[in-house]
Amino acid sequence: MVCEPWKTQLDKYLDGELPSEQMHAFDAHVRSCGSCAAEALARVQMKRTIQAAGKRFVPSAEFRRRMQQSIEAKPRRGVAGLGWMIATATLIFLAAGLAITSLGRRQQAVQERQLYSELADLHVGTLASSSPVDVVSSDRHTVKPWFQGKIPFAFDLPELENSEFSLLGGRVTYLEQTPGAHLIYKLRKHDISVFIFPAGVSRSKKEEPSAVTKNLSFNLESWSQGGLWYCIMGDASRADIHQLAELLKRSTGLPVS
């Protein structure tokens, strides 16, 4: 058991708690020892799983508002003229408004990042799986009916005959406990995920249609249409992602919101 001393220190190494010279020594050892490398990898995966599983509970908007108010409305004793009070109250009102707006935006941005990270996890996790799709078919007339009874909505898929995209299949997925459809498209060597959920799936998502943006190195585009929320994600180019988005939007024929 040559590696025993290393393995007893493995958690500290992965938690970044060893002094720097020991960290370097550990790095070198892990690179040369298959057994320690495998165990380190398994423990890193475990850490990531706990991290992902741990992000679970989100405060309601109503509770957030109450908290914000209780902090801002801290009573303060003082005697002052009416004019001073009105002026102060006005300033406070304006400042609080600005603070709420900016805090609200910051929180929205954080939640948005979490939401798209979760979708990225679904995308990567699915592609890494040995059976990424539960219905394997390039025929939209096979894939679409397969979802009947499995998710609480129906959707339209585009005709792809004149495009470079091909449909690989789909599976049921969940986002914040809401069931939805996860479709995988292929474009040259790129796999692209299309997620479809009811429009109310998450308050964290962008409400307005997004242009193609970059998130966690994936290109993504999202929009709402006909009561559903769509998000396309993949490592294909921005133009390709946008092209697939346009195909999907046209297939539905309903106004985009």
């Binding site: 958690d11 970044g16 398994a42 679970r56 209780s70 902090i71 002052a80 929180q107």
Partner: protein, 174 residues
């Protein structure tokens, strides 16, 4: 006469404390496992922290300070008292587990688990182990920050964390 409004103190507090709101809420929910109690706990934490903000030394770790208030508030609540009564921290000074004791659970986990399974296993941990695991893995606190939050020595952080990981792995293996 009371004037409702903000003052520089509460502005400074808000600026530091509100960005932690979501993560404190999530952590509190893991402790109480009940929405109403979580809201009460978070609210009480913020009220206590705002009241005691003048005693907070700027330049020290605000996050650990907030988590410490939340945790202490939880421990003195009815649920907290009940939860800690059932916890045994015996053999806390045993030190980290030997490597051989933890040979395969992670592999088993990766093969068989999903998020919900991990969530159930974390829920099932006694609160002292649940909190330390979440502070380390979810909040990504350093051992020193955890020691500060839990008011325990660094050695205890390491041994308790090691035990928490072992217990989680055991639950996932079942």
């Amino acid at each position: 006469m009371y004037v409702s409004g903000t003052d520089p103190q509460s502005d400074a507090f808000e600026e530091l404390a509100m960005p932690l709101f979501d993560q404190l809420y999530n952590f509190a929910y893991w402790l109480t496992q009940n929405r109403e109690e979580t809201e009460d706990l978070v609210q009480e934490t913020y009220v206590k922290a705002l009241k005691g903000f003048s005693t907070f030394q700027s330049g020290t770790n605000f996050r650990a300070w907030m988590y410490r208030i939340l945790r202490n508030t939880f421990l003195t609540s009815r649920t907290g008292l009940k939860a800690t009564m059932t916890v045994s921290l015996d053999a806390e000074e045993d030190g980290p587990a030997l490597a051989s004791e933890r040979e395969t659970p992670e592999t088993v986990l990766m093969e068989r688990s999903d998020w919900q399974r991990v969530q159930r296993a974390i829920e099932d941990l006694p609160v002292a182990f649940r909190e330390i695991l979440l502070l380390c893995e979810l909040e990504e606190m350093s051992y020193r920050e955890i020691a500060e939050t839990l008011s325990v020595p660094m050695g205890t952080v390491m041994s308790r964390l090691s035990r928490a990981r072992r217990m989680l792995a055991e639950r996932l293996r079942r």
